[in-house]
């Protein structure tokens, strides 16, 4: 119970801090920021090495790339320093243990690790479990809809998504950050920003749609 209160307090603290924090810069500064933060294109290869050979060195490389970002992710989600550290470690334990279930055709390494970190965050900070999908059981025999992410080539584009985020407006970045970093549903984001729910819905929808459009555009340019 004490822990829960601590968490609540730190969530509030973070909340206050974050509300006065400057939004990410746009333009060159932002682009550099995103570039600095890119995961190496080797992440998939490293993850597969861990899955197939229990490769310690590959894991150490993954760890140095991802653990400090998972820790940042947990801090933004309202964890205090010690809890964020612990959750980052636990997430990396899962990365090691579940590496064999990673499918590079379905997701980039960072996406796969995001889902594990997200579930850890829900489990610990909200005390809820996470129902996961077992799609193989029911949909594997059906044709999949085409998506820019469906092919291996298209999946490579996911790694380049970061370049596009700089094309979003400040307002769009704000809502996307609240959704992904702060674990907030649409309704809470609307309350935070004192905006009608419909505005938040359309803003997030536009932001995600724009990202997707930029990816598709790049895909077409590269194929032509």
């Amino acid at each position: 119970m004490a822990t829960l209160q601590t968490l609540n307090c730190s969530a509030k603290l973070f909340y206050r801090r974050s509300s006065v924090r400057p939004l990410p810069l746009r333009g060159d500064a932002a682009r550099q920021g995103w570039r600095r933060s890119v995961t190496s294109p080797d992440a998939e290869r490293l993850l597969i090495a861990v899955a197939q050979h229990r490769d310690d060195q590959a894991f150490a490389n993954l760890f140095s790339e991802f653990a400090p970002r998972i820790k940042a992710f947990m801090l933004k989600g309202g964890a205090d320093g010690a809890v964020a550290e612990e959750l980052a470690q636990e997430t990396m334990v899962q990365v090691w243990r579940r590496a064999s279930s990673y499918d590079p055709v379905k997701a980039s390494a960072s996406t796969w690790i995001f889902t594990i970190a997200r579930n850890k965050r829900i489990d610990r900070l909200r005390r809820e479990s996470r129902p996961t999908l077992d799609p193989e059981l029911y949909v594997s025999s059906q044709p999949q809809p085409t998506s820019p992410f469906d092919t291996v080539e298209a999946h490579q584009k996911k790694a380049l998504l970061h370049q596009f985020v700089a094309h979003l407006s400040t307002e769009q970045i704000e809502v996307v950050e609240k959704a992904f970093y702060q674990d907030k549903p649409h309704s809470a984001i609307a309350e935070d920003l004192d905006l009608p729910l419909g505005t938040v819905k359309s803003r997030i929808r536009l932001a995600l749609g724009r990202l997707r459009m930029l990816i598709e555009k790049q895909g077409m340019e590269e194929n032509s």
Partner: protein, 225 residues
């Protein structure tokens, strides 16, 4: 073919992790039956991957990697030979248990509905309450007799229905296996099951449902008398 899919904001809340667990059960159940929603969720999660990778790193403690390696070493060694056939080690089994869909949903999707402990709720409906993590939500399976009508009711809060077997009609729209219905709080609902088979639906709602018919008050399964 799925005709009714969750609105975009619910899929986003699911993919970011913000959706309350009982509602996430409904989305996960639907998405298992709907490749289109699965793809949409995967797309949103891909943005999450980039958002994670884009964070400014925060220094880990000095011995963090050693601690993680020690933990995984411990876990890898903990499976005695005799237990290998029994599946993954205990902590892993626990994780799988926690992350799986409720067994009654799985049983329904697998066509094993006779294993479910149905409780009669009036002449038309049987139901069973499923566990969830939040007290202010209720997660239930309902089995509606073929051709029968569910008592009329409206909703205070959000109510989501996922059709698992058979089909039903609510107002103008028909819902079949995999379809996802978000109930509009302003509208009276009176779902009618298809004539040819029993209809099983998963329903998740925030408690506090307002009844509109006196008969409903007696037999409406949503009410705890």
């Amino acid at each position: 073919m799925i005709h009714h899919r969750p609105p975009h904001d619910i899929l986003v809340d699911y993919a970011t992790g913000a959706l309350a667990q009982p509602l996430a059960i409904a989305v996960a159940t639907h998405a298992e039956l709907c490749p289109e929603s699965l793809a949409e969720i995967a797309d949103i999660e891909a943005v999450g991957g980039v958002m994670l990778a884009s964070l400014e790193p925060v220094k880990m403690s000095e011995n963090a990697l050693d601690r993680v390696m020690a933990l995984v070493g411990e876990m890898d060694n903990r499976i005695p030979d005799t237990e290998i056939d029994a599946g993954p080690d205990i902590s892993m089994r626990d994780e799988i248990r926690k992350s799986a869909l409720p067994p009654a949903i799985r049983a329904t999707l697998d066509g094993k509905t006779d294993t479910i402990a149905w409780q009669r709720r009036g002449p038309v409906i049987e139901s069973t309450v499923l566990d969830c993590d939040l007290d202010n939500y209720e997660v239930r399976l309902f089995r509606i007799k073929a051709g029968k009508t569910v008592p009329q009711h409206t909703h205070e809060g959000l109510e989501i229905t996922v059709c698992l077997t058979g089909g039903y009609t609510d107002g103008r729209d028909r819902y079949a296996r995999g379809d996802f219905q978000v109930a509009d709080p302003m509208v009276n609902h009176q779902p009618v099951a298809d004539n040819d088979e029993h209809c099983i639906v998963l329903t998740v709602f925030e408690k506090d449902i307002r009844l509109t018919s006196p008969l409903g008050r007696l037999i409406n399964p949503f009410v705890r008398l």
